[in-house]
């Protein structure tokens, strides 16, 4: 028994010693490898897992590593971290950004989380870096500068941004586009077809997307940018919802339109791309998507029809690709150099021409090669030059608002609530969220 006890004790001691050595070995190896190299390694996260985007981002990062990165003493390690299917949630990103293993640079495929990331401290302002790098507001379109700079700070460099234009399927409508809602409604009724009680073709199904665009076209606005306040329940905002109701009645119920919407097989794409509706609001990236999906669609593009008194080229930004600097980035100065590179005119032009997106800088758009290669972008360039494009809402409550705006639209179009009541309830919900936010974020300078 004595020898057994001795062997067991010896075994436990030796096992404990082995575990201790194994645990410290990686730290030792890291130390020795860090001492040996001068190059700073940056961790760069991007959700670009689509074939075109992934190839482009990897190519841009590799070009940086092989050229400017060598001069800067920086090596970028690109990690593709897609967002969950059917969502724009960056859960993995925010979890990492709040930890000690935060990436150094984050790129998002959507602009929506920007204001809440900034307000909650996930990302840090770039003011000092941008100033040192000589970044000038006049290099950017006013709308893209507003997206990068809010609440008194610069938060991101944009790779591109998106807003919708009015498209029509020329196989269904071959004439001049409608410029007023009366003209649109007349044509839409003409093109709406019901077969055996099922909706088989529609002139327009306005609630598919672009709720903010339709609201703006009717003269409404959910946010007062000058005052920095939500204006959800102002009477003008009910106009577009009442207009939606006319189409609910035309179709014989919201379910009819939803059945048509859900009839297409693709996981990405909508019924306009499949030729089932005459008019729709779509983004500048659609031609690339049509090619990817192998869809053939004859189309023209123009400005959204507007109500009396509303500017002709009105639009609301739907999204964008920002590059941001996490608060817990280990190498912020080096990360900023890479962010500047990715936000430079050459890099954004390379991305935007391949992906058919809108560059945020004048230099990229004014380059003749841009419209030569992307002639369909002229309506977007016209809208930018007209300067009636509205930015996203710079409020950290924006994600809550957008989710519950969808519910409000559902409540109206399923005839559960009147437009005014739905907007009033939404306004109250947003106000409650704001109060909660301000209680826990008294230092936030923005709305």
């Amino acid at each position: 028994m004595g020898s057994t006890r001795l062997d067991r004790r010896t075994f436990v001691k030796r096992a404990a010693g082995s575990v201790a050595v194994a645990a410290t070995a990686p730290a030792f190896l890291r130390t020795t490898s860090a001492l040996a190299a001068d190059t700073v390694e940056l961790e760069f996260w991007t959700p670009a897992n689509d074939p075109v985007g992934k190839g482009l981002i990897t190519k841009l990062a590799d070009e940086y590593n092989n050229n400017q990165g060598k001069t800067d003493g920086i090596k970028v390690n690109t990690s593709i971290k897609p967002t969950p299917p059917n969502t724009n949630d960056y859960v993995q990103y925010t979890t990492a950004m709040s930890s000690s293993a935060s990436p150094d640079v984050v790129m998002a495929y959507t602009y929506e989380p920007m204001s809440s990331w900034a307000a909650n401290g996930f990302i840090q302002p770039l003011d000092d870096y941008a100033k040192a790098a000589g970044v000038k507001e006049e290099d950017y379109f006013p709308i893209s500068w507003q997206m990068m700079t809010f609440a008194g700070h610069t938060w991101a460099f944009l790779q591109e941004f998106d807003f919708n234009r009015f498209w029509w399927n020329t196989a269904i409508h071959s004439g001049e586009p409608p410029t007023t809602f009366d003209e649109l409604d007349t044509l839409a009724k003409q093109y709406t077809k019901l077969d055996g009680g099922n909706l088989t073709q529609a002139g327009v199904i306005p609630w598919i997307s672009s709720t903010l665009d339709w609201n703006a076209a009717w003269g409404g606005s959910f946010y007062d940018f000058e005052a920095g306040k939500w204006t959800i329940d102002r009477p003008e905002n009910a106009k577009f919802l009442n207009w939606y109701l006319t189409y609910v009645d035309l179709f014989g119920g919201r379910e009819k339109a939803d059945a048509l919407i859900s009839s297409i097989p693709a996981s990405y794409g909508d019924i306009f791309q499949y030729g089932k509706i005459a008019f729709a609001m779509e983004g500048e990236y659609l031609p690339v998507e049509l090619t990817k999906q192998g869809l053939e669609l004859e189309y023209e593009i123009g400005a959204i029809p507007v109500a009396d008194g509303v500017p002709a080229q009105v639009a609301v930004v739907g999204g964008g690709n920002p590059f941001v600097l996490p608060t817990k980035a280990k190498h912020p100065e080096e990360a900023m150099k890479f962010i500047q590179y990715m936000g430079s005119a050459e890099a954004v032009k390379a991305w935007c021409i391949e992906e058919s997106n809108i560059p945020p800088v004048h230099a990229a758009v004014s380059d003749p090669a841009f419209l030569q290669q992307l002639p369909h972008m002229k309506p977007w360039v016209d809208a930018l030059n007209a300067n009636h494009v509205q930015p996203p809402f710079p409020s950290p409550i924006t994600p809550y608002f957008m989710t519950n705006l969808a519910t409000a639209v559902d409540e109206v179009t399923y005839k559960k609530k009147a437009p005014e009541q739905a907007l009033a309830d939404l306004a109250k919900g947003v106000a409650d969220q704001e109060a909660t936010f301000k209680q826990s974020h008294p230092d936030w300078q923005g709305e």
Binding site: N120, P399, Y400, T403, A406, D410, T436, Q439, S440
Partner: protein
């Protein structure tokens, strides 16, 4: 009292007294060795489970967004949940409805399948595998598959219903049909429940069936008066486990209804008709960055599940037959 040696003989008194400290040391050493071997599990349990549990209790009384330190706000999160959050009430109601209908349906279908699979038929092994197979398919793949099956125009289910003159039904886009479609989808994952029922059925003594048959019992009487009472502990187990799982359902509603048909936000389906409690908890935590509020929601769910489980065990035990 005499101490025994390893061969079972009593030790002499002089040996017993002098050996006590040595034996106590021996037992202590054995305990230490045992603890050393299970220490990895203990450390892991304490760090990855126990600590997060206590941390989440604390966070539920704070305002916390993961980046700034938590700020104590007392019962404010709980007050807001019960008095000022319509989405919380909606999510709770939806989850209750889902649980109320999906659990009995799943139990009934699983029981029927288990009865069939318990019969001596050719290819029984194949059928047992086939019925369990859906349960091992990843949730995401299942959700995408069912999105296609339940498509209002061209989905397999509506095509089949169309042949008998029913439909088309807007399974995933009508607020009236989204909950039934989710409940229907829950049947897809009854494989484990079937297996547990099957194990219980095979434990029922054959002589009870024979005795009942001698008394003139038909198939239905056999099931009602022999099978069900004998497997009542299994039924209770499956009921409690099924209820716990249903109250925490997340993957299918989150993936299938990820974006509303308006294309803007929303993972609760049209009119939030299938906004589930876990999905709303996810929204609060990871979209709105209100970790303290989400922790409060998590603890309320825990209390509900605990209470319902306890109630089930207390109330239903009288109907359970233990051998």
């Amino acid at each position: 009292m005499a101490l025994l040696t390893g061969s079972g003989n009593a030790m002499p008194r002089s040996t017993q007294r002098s050996d006590r400290p040595r034996l106590a040391r021996l037992r202590r050493n054995e305990l230490l060795v045992a603890l050393a071997f299970i220490s990895p599990w203990i450390v892991g349990f304490c760090w990855f489970q126990l600590y997060p549990i206590f941390a989440s209790i604390r966070y539920s009384f704070t305002s916390y967004n993961m980046m700034q330190p938590p700020v104590w706000i007392g019962l404010s999160n709980y007050e807001t949940l019960f008095t000022g959050d319509p989405l919380f009430r909606k999510a709770l109601l939806n989850t209750a409805i889902y649980t109320l209908f999906s659990v009995p349906l799943d139990l009934f279908v699983a029981f029927c399948f288990a009865l069939l699979l318990n019969m001596q038929i050719p290819g029984r092994a194949f059928f047992r595998t086939a019925f369990y197979f859906p349960a091992i398919i990843p949730s995401v793949a299942t959700a995408i598959l069912w999105t296609m099956l339940l498509n209002a125009q061209g989905g397999l289910l509506n095509v089949a219903l169309g042949y008998i003159g029913i439909g088309p039904i807007a399974w995933l886009t009508s607020p009236s049909w989204t909950m039934p479609s989710l409940i229907l989808l829950s049947v897809w994952g009854i494989g484990p429940t079937v297996v547990i029922f099957l194990a219980g059925l095979q434990d029922v003594p054959r002589d009870l069936y024979e005795a009942a048959q001698l008394d003139g019992a038909g198939p239905l009487r056999l099931v009602r008066d022999v099978t069900i009472p004998m497997i009542s502990p299994v039924i209770l187990f499956n009921l409690v486990i099924g209820m716990i799982a249903a109250l925490q359902v997340f993957a299918q509603p989150f993936i299938i209804f990820g974006q509303s048909t308006t294309g803007v936000g929303g993972n609760g389906g049209p009119l939030n008709s299938v906004l589930m409690y876990s999905v709303q908890l996810y929204n609060v935590a990871f979209v709105q960055f209100q970790m303290g509020y989400a922790a409060a929601m998590a603890w309320i769910l825990f209390v509900i599940i605990f209470a319902l489980s306890l109630l089930s065990m207390r109330l239903l035990t009288r109907y359970v037959h233990y051998e």
